[in-house]
């Protein structure tokens, strides 16, 4: 079985309405297949919006053609 490398990822996302889990997993897919992740901090932006810090390990290489979440 061929497998990409395991890589740590640190992301910051602005909270949007809807499923929080789907939002995190969708953002991580830009970096690889999520293997393990957690929201490790929640901060407020100057405009009062929630900013989520995500720490994760993903499988696979970065695709430079995909945009940052």
């Amino acid at each position: 079985m061929s497998l990409g490398e395991l890589r740590p990822v640190l992301l910051q996302l602005e909270r949007r309405p809807g499923s929080l889990r789907a939002q995190v997993e969708s953002a991580l897919l830009h970096h690889g297949q999520p293997l393990r992740w957690a929201i490790t901090a929640v901060d407020q932006s100057a405009e009062g919006r929630s900013l989520l810090q995500i720490e994760a390990v993903v499988i696979g290489a970065i695709d430079p053609h995909r945009s940052e979440a």
């Binding site: 497998l3 499923s19 929080l20 957690a38 490790t40 901090a41 720490e55």
Partner: protein, 353 residues
């Protein structure tokens, strides 16, 4: 008096975040036993149950590796209780001969003394090269350089008939580190936990089998100030017994569209009546999936490194000051008693305009 039907309950205590209860060597096990008694059906993960040389086997407790727990909570798989798994032993080629022999003797001991079905044994074709790291928040993460070697050995075990896999990887020794000293004395984070989770997540996800991990480490010098919560890891030469015992009765992982087979019915997330997690660590996949399904979330005051609370995430939870209180809440839910009715003051109903 008749007893209420079991209330399948998820207990999540994330690994490597320094929880006061569950951040050490299986020190959430008493809480898990209490919650199993309250619910009659507790689904939890190795970090809660693994006390290295210490373990507890209870047919009401379902031992499910973390990524499988996440997929169960998301409704992507079912848990099929079994009488016994055949536990294949996967050893890292990086383990020195004497330490390897110690692990094989533990496996033999579990066969001879506990009656577990263990084997075969497969060694990776190259060292896995595990490394440890901390994330931006200070929680434990980690890596292995040879995930392909891990998966190849796992596939060999599965092909040879193993229905669950216990992995032992050589972890880096660092007996002089301040972090290890702090952990042994009851503060700080279990630095090994993050890499352990990555290993078991990878195997379980790719092979669809119950998996759990024990690190291979050189014995540590005696620490007279050892915290009781870390003591389970200082009783022997390996951390393997709890993993073998846990996996020996771990439920099989079934696709949601799997045909029914004889025996106990599989557990589905639809049957789960509560999820319990630390109040400041609610930002994991399993808890969020449950919350999105409307499953009551019991948020327990269990201090840790994080501050990802219900308020920060906009979740509705039932707070509990301790796991004892959480057990009372589980019992209330199981008996059909509204938790709010147990609290004072009890505000009057207000009618909608």
């Amino acid at each position: 008096m008749g007893s209420a039907a079991p209330l399948p309950t998820l207990l999540v205590i994330p690994t490597g975040i320094g929880c006061a209860v569950g951040g050490f060597a299986g020190d959430a096990l008493p809480a898990a036993r209490l919650l199993a008694a309250a619910s009659d059906c507790l689904i939890t993960h190795p970090n809660v149950m693994n006390g290295a040389a210490l373990y507890w086997s209870d047919p009401r407790i379902h031992y499910v590796e973390g990524s499988s727990l996440d997929r169960f909570a998301a409704g992507d798989l079912l848990l099929q209780p079994v009488r016994q798994q055949r536990v294949g032993l996967l050893l890292d080629a990086g383990i020195e001969p004497e330490l390897r022999q110690r692990h094989l003797q533990v496996a033999d001991g579990c066969r001879a003394t506990l009656g577990l079905n263990i084997g075969p044994v497969v060694t990776t074709d190259m060292p896995l090269e595990v490394s440890l790291s901390l994330g931006a928040s200070g929680v434990s993460w980690g890596q292995l350089q040879r995930p392909d070697a891990l998966l190849l050995a796992g596939e060999q075990l599965k092909a040879a008939g193993a229905t669950a896999i216990a992995v032992v990887a050589r972890f880096p020794d660092d007996p002089e580190s301040e972090a290890l000293a702090a952990y042994r004395q009851g503060s700080g984070v279990d630095a090994l936990a993050g890499a352990e989770a990555v290993i078991s997540h990878l195997l379980s996800r790719e092979l669809g089998l119950p998996c759990a991990h024990a690190p291979a480490l050189s014995p540590l010098p005696l620490d007279p100030d050892l915290d009781p919560r870390a003591a389970g890891e200082e009783l022997g030469f390996t951390f393997l017994p709890c993993v073998l015992v846990g996996l020996s009765r771990a439920p099989s992982l079934l696709p949601v569209d799997a045909p029914a087979f004889a025996g106990a019915s599989p557990l589905a997330i639809d049957a789960v009546g509560a999820v319990i997690a630390p109040a400041a660590a609610l930002g994991g996949a399993a808890v969020l999936a449950c919350a999105e399904r409307g499953i009551p979330v019991i948020a327990v005051d269990n201090p840790c490194l994080l501050n990802v609370t219900a308020e920060a995430l906009g979740l509705e939870v039932i707070p509990a000051a301790s796991y004892s209180e959480a057990a009372g809440l589980v019992l209330a839910l199981r008996e059909g008693i509204a938790p709010a009715a147990l609290q004072r003051p009890l505000p009057p109903l207000s009618s909608r305009p």
